[in-house]
């Protein structure tokens, strides 16, 4: 019974490949649009605050607020307020994706060895060059870790947005009468695979970045 349900779910994937691909593409489009916007907003703020060693309160406050917000309630409130729509869902996801990116960008840059930064300043680099040429590469592993956490979170939450009429894989999960339990499970597997694949790619980048920056003894 149990095994057969999972077998059915695995069977559902090739049988409905086109449907799943289309829904997965919808979820991915929503998730990556939001992730991109969140990076564009949060990364510069986090980097700059970290560079100035200011705004620790903001960076940490953002992350604890981001953790405490129940994503599903926030999505509901935005739908009730603005209605269902791609950009409305994007706004919610951007809000939820900003905290981990902002906090990790801050911590990554803030934690760079001050002696190294002083040395760069002594060599005549200006503040922008220090940020982009010294602090950014050295803080890159932590920065990417923040993006990875946000990415996983956004993919999961983009699915939940689908529950509330936003399309994507969540639409299948919400609809066991149309797609059966096997479809619900198949969609859940697809979401997990998407998140794992994204996290894997980002953690490869993270590993490459930290290996490149590891001090050689």
């Amino acid at each position: 019974m149990l095994a057969s349900l999972f077998v059915d779910a695995l069977q559902f994937i090739p049988d409905h490949a086109a449907l799943l691909l289309q829904k997965a593409a919808e979820t991915a489009e929503l998730a990556f649009t939001a992730l991109g916007i969140a990076i564009l907003i949060a990364m510069p703020i986090g980097l700059w605050l970290g560079h100035r060693h200011r705004g620790l309160f903001l960076a940490l406050g953002a992350s604890s607020l981001g953790r405490a917000l129940p994503s599903i309630a926030l999505i509901g409130i935005f739908i009730a307020w603005l209605g269902v729509g791609f950009w409305n869902n994007t706004v919610v996801l951007v809000i939820l994706a900003i905290p981990p990116i902002l906090t990790n960008a801050y911590i990554g840059v803030d934690g760079v060895d001050r002696d190294v930064v002083e040395a760069a300043r002594g060599m005549g680099l200006n503040e922008r060059q220090i940020l982009t040429g010294v602090e950014l590469p050295l803080g890159l592993p932590l920065l990417l870790a923040g993006v990875r956490i946000a990415a996983v979170f956004v993919i999961a939450t983009a699915t939940i947005a689908g529950l509330a009429g936003g399309g994507g894989l969540g639409e299948i999960m919400e609809n066991p009468t149309a797609y059966n339990d096997s479809g619900v499970l198949a969609a859940a597997l697809c979401v997990a695979a998407m998140a794992l694949a994204t996290a894997f790619v980002l953690s490869l980048g993270q590993r490459a970045a930290s290996r490149r920056m590891a001090p050689r003894a």
């Binding site: 604890s64 953790r67 309630a73 999961a156 339990d181 979401v191």
Partner: protein, 242 residues
């Protein structure tokens, strides 16, 4: 059928827009009368369930994380694989994990607890391990100089000094669990996620119920965070003079 998918509205929650107060008929953001009327039959039980769910999940997660961290602390080479494992668990979206467990553990609280426990590992395990490993070598050296055995060093030096890091992890894990637990209602009407999903599944989105249950979730998270911060202060009296 195992009844996968959205839990149907479990409670007597359907707002009667036709006969309710003007506030309810217009679906305003917050109608105190509804909250007052349904505190006893909807909100309070959901809140109690939510606290129960959080307490179980964080307790089990803490016990497992502590055991894993001890193993990794004692046998250093096990650290990276254990860390990678908790990382991978975190990358599985909660919504998938809840749904995938239904055929295995049924429509029970166990199905809700397992993913929540998995998520606490991601935060607690690295924090506990970092706390234990973060004790300065000179402190360990003086413990050895005072004739402490390995076990005494652990209980009287390493563990107390790790408390701030452990408590920081516990705060993060608790707040995250309270928030993620709302998604558990996708499989079972349980906790504050129940009324939240109910409100969203209502054709016009029942705003008062959504705001009340969502607000309670945030309040619960903030309260838990404050209580744990106070506990941390009580546990580490030496760090207070600053």
């Amino acid at each position: 059928m195992t009844g996968l998918g959205l839990a149907d509205g479990g409670g007597p929650v359907i707002p009667n827009f036709g006969h309710g107060t003007a506030c309810l008929r217009h679906n305003h953001w917050f109608c105190p009368s509804w909250v007052h009327e349904h505190w006893g039959d909807i909100l309070q039980p959901a809140l109690v369930q939510h606290i129960y769910l959080t307490l179980i999940s964080v307790s089990i997660g803490f016990a497992i994380s502590f055991a894993l961290a001890l193993i990794a602390f004692r046998f250093g080479f096990l650290g990276p694989p254990l860390g990678a494992m908790s990382d991978i668990l975190y990358c599985l979206p909660s919504i998938s994990l809840f749904l995938l467990l239904v055929p295995v553990t049924g429509l029970s609280v166990t199905t809700l607890v397992i993913p929540l426990v998995a998520y606490t590992l991601f935060v607690l395990y690295p924090n506990i391990l970092a706390g234990l490993r973060g004790v300065p070598p000179e402190v360990l050296e003086s413990a050895r100089g005072m004739g402490f055995t390995r076990l005494q060093t652990f209980w009287r030096v390493e563990l107390p000094l790790a408390v701030p890091a452990i408590m920081a992890g516990l705060r993060v894990a608790t707040v995250a669990t309270i928030s993620i637990a709302t998604i558990a209602a996708i499989v079972l009407y349980y906790g504050l996620g129940g009324p939240i999903f109910d409100a969203i599944n209502h054709p016009d989105i029942f705003r008062t119920e959504l705001v009340a249950a969502g607000g309670l979730t945030i309040l619960l998270a903030l309260t838990a965070d404050t209580l744990l911060a106070l506990l941390q202060r009580a546990l580490t009296p030496w760090s207070r003079q600053r």
